[in-house]
């Protein structure tokens, strides 16, 4: 058989339609859920999005709160997809993804291209919705497959953690970085934006269901050669990384870069989206495909 390649000339301009589905697993979040929804509405006013709340039968009445929010904001914006019991984070995303209404990439007769994205975040207010526009901006600029938030770059960080928790977090991250070499600074972070098709593919291959799930997703993405961008709050106080510390000691203070370790081949840039963030580009394509 012969393979025919047909090149179409587009007589009409193509319009790209984007839709963002936010998957929000909840368990006993009746206090935080309304705040999250309110913040989403505040910061995503210009974004076509839907929120899918996956509640694992919380005894504290999270679902009643969710219903009230749905009534206020509309059933097309807030989708309630509860489950019968506490079934774990990984399966919550699989469950929620089925109900994401964004279409997979396609071009229809009116020259509309549909591209859909899925955002994963936590409902406990550890992930601020104000970062989502930055994530979207970074994705659009470089057409990334995944954009991830990070706690380890710039002003990214935590609040109210004791020393023990910080040591465990850093230690685990060091070990994971050393063994898995994912090329992403925050492996276990769970504030991420995926192209819908990429998420569906990765999620179907993941074995782990609990906390390790996020790590496995990023590891698989990295080994498959998907492009990943990182978003962190901008740094006002320069961080001292090990690499920059060594360079600083060897060559003097003038080489220490402002706002983080000078990573090999990584570009820094400020996104066009207004806000106080910088983002870091990690282009997997330059490091070799799958």
């Amino acid at each position: 058989s012969t393979v025919l390649t047909v090149i179409y000339r587009n007589p009409l301009p193509i319009t790209v339609m984007t839709k963002y589905s936010i998957l929000l697993p909840t368990y006993n979040e009746s206090e935080n859920l309304p705040i999250v929804v309110w913040l989403l509405e505040k910061y995503l006013r210009d974004v076509e999005y839907e929120l899918i709340i996956i509640d694992d039968a919380s005894p504290d009445g999270t679902q009643d709160v969710a219903k009230a929010l749905q009534k206020e904001y509309g059933a097309s914006k807030i989708l309630l997809k509860p489950r019968a019991g506490k079934l774990g984070l990984g399966t919550a995303y699989i469950h929620g993804l089925q109900f994401a209404t964004g279409e997979v990439p396609s071009v229809n007769d009116e020259q509309l291209v549909f591209v859909s994205f899925v955002i994963l975040m936590d409902a406990d207010l550890s992930h601020h919705p104000k970062f989502i526009p930055t994530m979207i901006g970074l994705q659009q600029e470089y057409n990334y497959d995944i954009v991830t938030g990070t706690r380890y770059v710039g002003d990214g960080g935590v609040s109210g953690w004791d020393l023990r928790r910080k040591v465990i977090s850093k230690g685990a991250n060091y070990l994971a970085q050393f063994l898995l070499e994912p090329g992403v600074s925050d492996l276990t972070g769970s504030f991420r934006l995926y192209k819908k098709a990429v998420l569906a593919e990765l999620i179907s291959e993941c074995i782990s269901k609990g906390y390790v799930f996020q790590m496995e997703m990023m590891f698989r993405a990295s080994k498959k050669g998907y492009t990943v961008g990182e978003v962190a709050p901008s740094s006002r106080t320069p961080m001292i990384g090990l690499a920059s510390l060594l360079i600083w000691l060897l060559l003097g203070p003038h080489t220490a870069s402002e706002g983080g370790n000078p990573q090999r081949g990584l570009e820094r840039y400020r996104p066009r989206v207004p806000g106080h963030f910088h983002a870091r580009q990690i282009d997997r394509r330059t490091l070799g495909g799958p």
Binding site: P34, I35, W38, L39, A68, L69, K71, E72, L125, H128, R151, Y152, D155, G156, G157, V158, S159, G160, W161, L163, K166, V167, S169, K170, G171, N173, Y174, F178, L179, L180, E181, K223, K224, P233, M239, I240, G241, L242, L245, P290
Partner: protein, 93 residues
């Protein structure tokens, strides 16, 4: 796609081969500088030690640099107040 384990086995194998060839070379060539022989013989021990040092330093530096986002926390608490007020007005809460 090679698994991560295969990648690691390859690296360790290459390093081991290098080390063994250095050891063999020591038997043939007479190195005049003292200390070199000792260093090459115990190179793997030094390697592991340096790796441990790197790990410990990285974690320590990481913990010391871990941002405590107190400003972000304050900002969030303000926004929570604002959200509560607005949602109460709309009779959602």
């Amino acid at each position: 796609m090679a698994t991560q384990l295969v990648i690691y086995v390859k690296r360790v194998a290459i390093l081991t081969l290098l080390w063994i060839s250095c050891l063999l070379l020591l038997n043939v060539v007479d190195v005049p500088i003292t200390g070199i022989q000792h260093f090459i013989t115990y190179a793997p021990v030094y390697g592991v030690f340096l790796l441990g040092l790197h790990a410990a330093l990285s974690v320590l530096l990481g913990v010391a640099n871990f941002n405590d986002c107190s400003d972000a926390r304050k900002e969030l608490l303000e926004e929570i107040k604002e959200a509560r007020a607005d949602l109460t007005k709309r009779k959602v809460l």
